[in-house]
Symmetry: D2
Subunit: 294 residues, 4 copies
């Protein structure tokens, strides 16, 4: 996707500007049109605030239309391949394009019930979620009062818009990204654990764990890149599996047979997608510790 | 099983003595017969040593016959229900009576190959093992030289005899039992974690985890009984799952949603069945540590 | 000191009974006299409760006289050697017989001011305190309202009585004793740290640390006896110094020169004299952890 | 001190070059003179290597003269104020200008004995040491064979030269600097401990601790600057004192009175002045852990 600079958006005609940002709100180019005259914007945050204000000041009918312009999650439009490019990428990032038939049916049932009760589709900024947390949100929110859901849906629309804007504009820094990282300290040798294999997996109540990263610590005991970065860390449960016994074998540290610790699992959940989750391992062949670091 | 006291064995006739201990060595009552005249024994260890010596001083033919008197592991005799009572209980304790068809075939293949190469059945003190470690031993030992296997098989026969003697004699203390225990310290509140649910599971490369214990910590943060005791702790891999989030919820400690730590898994292996494995958990809602304690 | 059994107290004449327990309340044998007729007592707790009730039901004059019968802490009577045997032992246990001239003057000043304001001596169950915490209590309580101090003084009198009774009666179990213990786990080797030298010291804001225990861990990584037991653990600040480098040197573990960790200090305070303070050390040559255990 | 760039040294006349670097080796400008013709140098390391080679290829008489050109440590020249500027700064950095009379005498005795035995002054790169480790080196090395000491002294001269060069040349990066840093994680709240007061002190067998840094953690739980950086970390023993109770009080976390943990001391030694010593604290009101991190 080609990105725009703020400078280019400033120089663009009103029409060009609206075309560039017409997709930020789903099927609702009028939001971009209404803020074109408010240029220039000091930064991306100011542009986002202006677009949010445009929606907030719109009529109830316009707001309702905006919400209704959103597709169902894992719905028929997705199956038919008629989603907007943004919606398609977003739903795919959370695995909604890889549902089992049973899961698909569950989503359809929830979509139908939700629309019937709230008269809008269920809207969630899925880039901030895993499949499991989407279902939990769905089940939790469906029982809310319609007025409250209307507000919640708008808030999620603003989150979706923010992430779309963040991707569309060069050097945007809206603070929407989180980070998941690790660090392995070998307390037996008193130095960083270099070359330890580890995998990051997303856990789910229903499915097998999904492999996200398969890597190895570098000489500082860290991974060359954070395990997750440059995006929100999806709300959900994760597990890092550290290959502790293999690591000590390559260092010729005597181990029991079988070794007391072999693959060490650290299981934790992410609740704030914009947060920094640092999950280190302090380890010897006979002990380990972990904590939420920073 | 009725138990004998050392005193009763001392007073018994030679015939009664041999009858009482005729099962200690599989289908080989001659071992008991040969030590009857050496009574009295100061303690069970002395009796065991005498029986071991009787075997060691037997002829090569007698030793070979003793080894050949043992059944295959998970073999046809077991399926046919014609094992000695002791052998049946021993094989059952390691789950050899619950094999899938595929596992059963694997055992038959190994049994046949082993007998062909070594001219004795594969003998292992299975009370010291899990199904997984039995298979590993089998695969490892089959390639040994026959002379070495003959010695190893005898050593395992002595281990089997020791455990049988330990069970048959009142207050025997042969030091054959290990122990697995845990202790949960709540470092957030500064006291033992009382009432935390936990399960102990045996892990396996091929099967689903097998639930061994489902319990809850008492007010000292320990379990009322050790997780495993009064027997060797089978060589194998285990996992304790601690219900950390539930524990803190009942104490009204604010948690993230979903909580950073929920079910905390501690995965470890036992290599010395006679050892004491103390596997504590030091925990807060945001950190934990474990180690091999004592 | 000879101890009495509950049985002997039951059989004693009223006079003998009063003589045996006449010292439980300072210079106030009338308390024992009034409960003699209430025998037998099911246990020591019932006897203590009866004595406490006798004081609570006494007249205001009697209560005032009881409080005034107590000596000053570190006062002139102590210097003159005219304290009761119990008071003398109690004040000595907290080091009040080892004051510097400056400290002695401070106590005299506080004693005078306190008596002037509250018309009773400052009463504190000093077996539950260190010199430092006695001074803190003194400075804190002197500003209270006299009515409140009267109640506080009575409560301390009951604490003193309970400890005296506990020492005077065979097998009393009034739950007045605390315990301080430690345990060293060698996470480098995966077993208890045996033979590690350690000292326990009482810290003070003004004085040099006072050595209380100089010992070595046994093969279970514990000390043969708790560091403090069979008495309340005095409120105050403590430090355990663990000789970590020496321990690893005797085990031929390679260390830096000088070693990263040598004498490891764990500094903590006791707030509940009747509590169990377990202060373990989990250690490698490059790391350690401690916590309040149980 | 004004610094030179490599470029300026390249363009300088041979005379200017020798003048600029005449102090790198104590009272021995000939070293700089001999390498002037070998310009240009690709980097500071190449320049240092050339100077080191010039010394190594010098005659025994020249080497001996170079060693003898060094002053005694804490010697009469220092007292008389006739040291070179570099030597004076170096000896001061290790506290050799603040000796007690007793220490001064000890140094004089060692200086005299050492010169008598080895016929050179005792030479040590004191920027890599604390007073205590200087004395230990002195006592250890004095018994060596003179040939070995001659080699050791030369090696120390090269270390001194390297550090002088590092300071004299713009953007030198000879890898001579170490670092000492800390990081406080609040495992009770699950985030970095911000605003915790801490002090770093140098410990000594004989003197009171010497305060090096008095600071407070920032919002990431770190200190704004490393505790020691941009220089070798002197070999010696250190203590960081963390104000744990004050930190939790400002966060309204309930504590015992007195708090179980108040000032938490972490005591450790530095053995490699060029190393990175990261000494974090993981803490709750009831537990803490530390380790050599990176």
């Amino acid at each position: 996707m080609s990105k725009f600079t703020l400078e280019a958006l400033r120089k663009a005609s009103a029409q060009e500007f609206a075309a560039a940002l017409g997709d930020i709100f789903e099927h609702s180019p009028w939001v971009a049109e209404r803020v074109a005259a408010k240029r220039p914007f000091a930064n991306v945050r100011a542009l986002l605030d202006a677009m949010t204000a445009a929606v907030n000041h719109a009529t109830l009918e316009e707001k309702t239309a905006l919400l209704r312009a959103h597709p169902d999650l894992a719905g028929k439009a997705a199956r038919a391949g008629v989603l907007t490019k943004d919606s398609s990428a977003e739903q795919g990032s959370a695995g909604l394009d890889r549902l089992s038939e049973v899961e698909y049916e569950a989503f359809q049932r929830l979509n139908t019930d939700y629309r019937q009760k709230h008269e809008i589709p269920f809207i969630l900024c899925v880039r901030r979620h895993t499949k499991g947390s989407i279902l939990k949100q769905f089940e939790r929110r469906i029982d809310n009062a319609p007025e409250r859901e209307f507000e919640t849906a708008l808030m999620e629309v603003f989150r979706i818009a923010a992430l779309r804007l963040d991707q569309k504009i060069e050097s945007a820094d809206l603070g929407l990204n989180g980070r998941l990282s690790t660090h392995v300290l070998d307390n037996h040798a008193g130095n960083p654990a270099a070359g330890m294999a580890l995998v990051l997996r997303e856990l789910s109540d229903h499915d097998a764990p999904r492999l996200l990263v398969n890597t190895r610590t570098n000489k500082d005991g860290r991974t060359d890149a954070p395990l997750i970065s440059d995006r929100p860390v999806p709300i959900g449960q994760y597990e890092i599996l550290f290959s502790v016994a293999d690591y000590y074998r390559t260092r010729s540290v005597p181990l029991a047979e079988p070794p007391f610790l072999d693959l060490v699992p650290i299981r934790f959940s992410v609740a704030e997608p914009e947060g920094h989750y640092h999950v280190p391992l302090l380890v010897t062949p006979w002990s380990y510790a972990t904590y939420r670091g920073s």
